[in-house]
């Protein structure tokens, strides 16, 4: 799992690529927290276009991102989610907590 970080005007963008399973999520959650703690963003965008596989470990990552942004009173958007990852998100009902945009640009 590779994560690219861009931060402009307290907008933080994290671009994920690779497989987001339990093996990868341990580091990914740590990297996400570090990036949020450093940038203290008003808005966090997670770009999942490069996520080729995701299981419930990705749900744990989204819940963590949500908690981080709630603490900062900021917003969270997950975008460009591939069909397999979207089905996992739907099965977990995560769209009740996190704003997910499947298509379009960041």
């Amino acid at each position: 799992m590779d994560i690219r970080t861009q931060s402009v005007d307290r907008n933080l963008l994290l671009e994920f690529s690779g497989e987001l399973d339990h093996h990868a999520a341990k580091n990914a959650i740590r990297e996400l927290e570090l990036a949020v703690d450093t940038a203290l963003p008003r808005r966090l965008v997670l770009d999942f276009n490069g996520v080729t596989f995701m299981d419930s470990s990705g749900i744990a990552l989204l819940l963590r991102a949500k908690r981080c942004m709630d603490a900062l009173e900021g917003s969270l958007l997950v975008c460009r989610v591939q069909p397999q990852a979207k089905r996992v998100m739907d099965a977990a009902g995560i769209d009740r907590l996190v704003h997910i945009k499947q298509e379009g640009t960041v």
């Binding site: 399973d21 339990h22 093996h23 959650i29 419930s56 069909p83 089905r87 099965a91």
Partner: protein, 148 residues
């Protein structure tokens, strides 16, 4: 028990680096059933959940043995069994409930929910102190007979 047409049996230590291997190997084996991409992804996702459970919960402080068996049964049904000899689950009903986890913030508690929704059958048998066996079935629709 269903009649088995073909099977594989894998054994590996409960290291998280084997999660990807386990789901890929199962998907490769299942590909002879001519599944759709969606069906293959469903199988990979469910296997990933079951193997992760064995790694995280069965052997929390040690490395143990995980056995994965996949077999093709009559009626184009794939059956996958993931077995560990770890600490077991004292209350299977509770463990299967959405959002329930003993795995801390790294886990979401959605593993069994996802296995249930991505497969056609799920059975969990567990003996505290002796281990857990998860058995899942997935019916692969036949393209030739237009059942899809």
């Amino acid at each position: 028990m269903r009649k088995s047409m073909n099977y594989i049996r894998l054994e590996f230590p409960s290291r998280s680096s084997n999660e990807g291997f386990a789901r890929m190997a199962t998907a490769c084996f299942a590909s002879q059933m001519d599944p759709t991409l969606n069906e293959l992804e469903d199988i990979k996702t469910a296997v990933s959940e079951a193997v992760t459970n064995a790694i995280v919960h069965a052997y929390p402080d040690s490395i143990g043995r995980v056995t994965l068996k996949a077999r093709i049964c009559e009626g184009n049904v794939l059956e996958v069994t993931i077995k560990d000899a770890g600490k077991g689950i004292s209350d299977v009903e509770k463990a299967r409930q959405p959002m329930y986890t003993t795995g801390g913030e790294e886990r979401s508690g959605m593993g069994f929910t996802i296995m249930e929704s991505f497969m056609d059958g799920l059975t969990v048998r567990s003996n505290p102190g002796r281990g857990t066996t998860v058995t899942m079935q997935k019916k692969i629709a036949s393209r030739a007979t237009g059942q899809r």
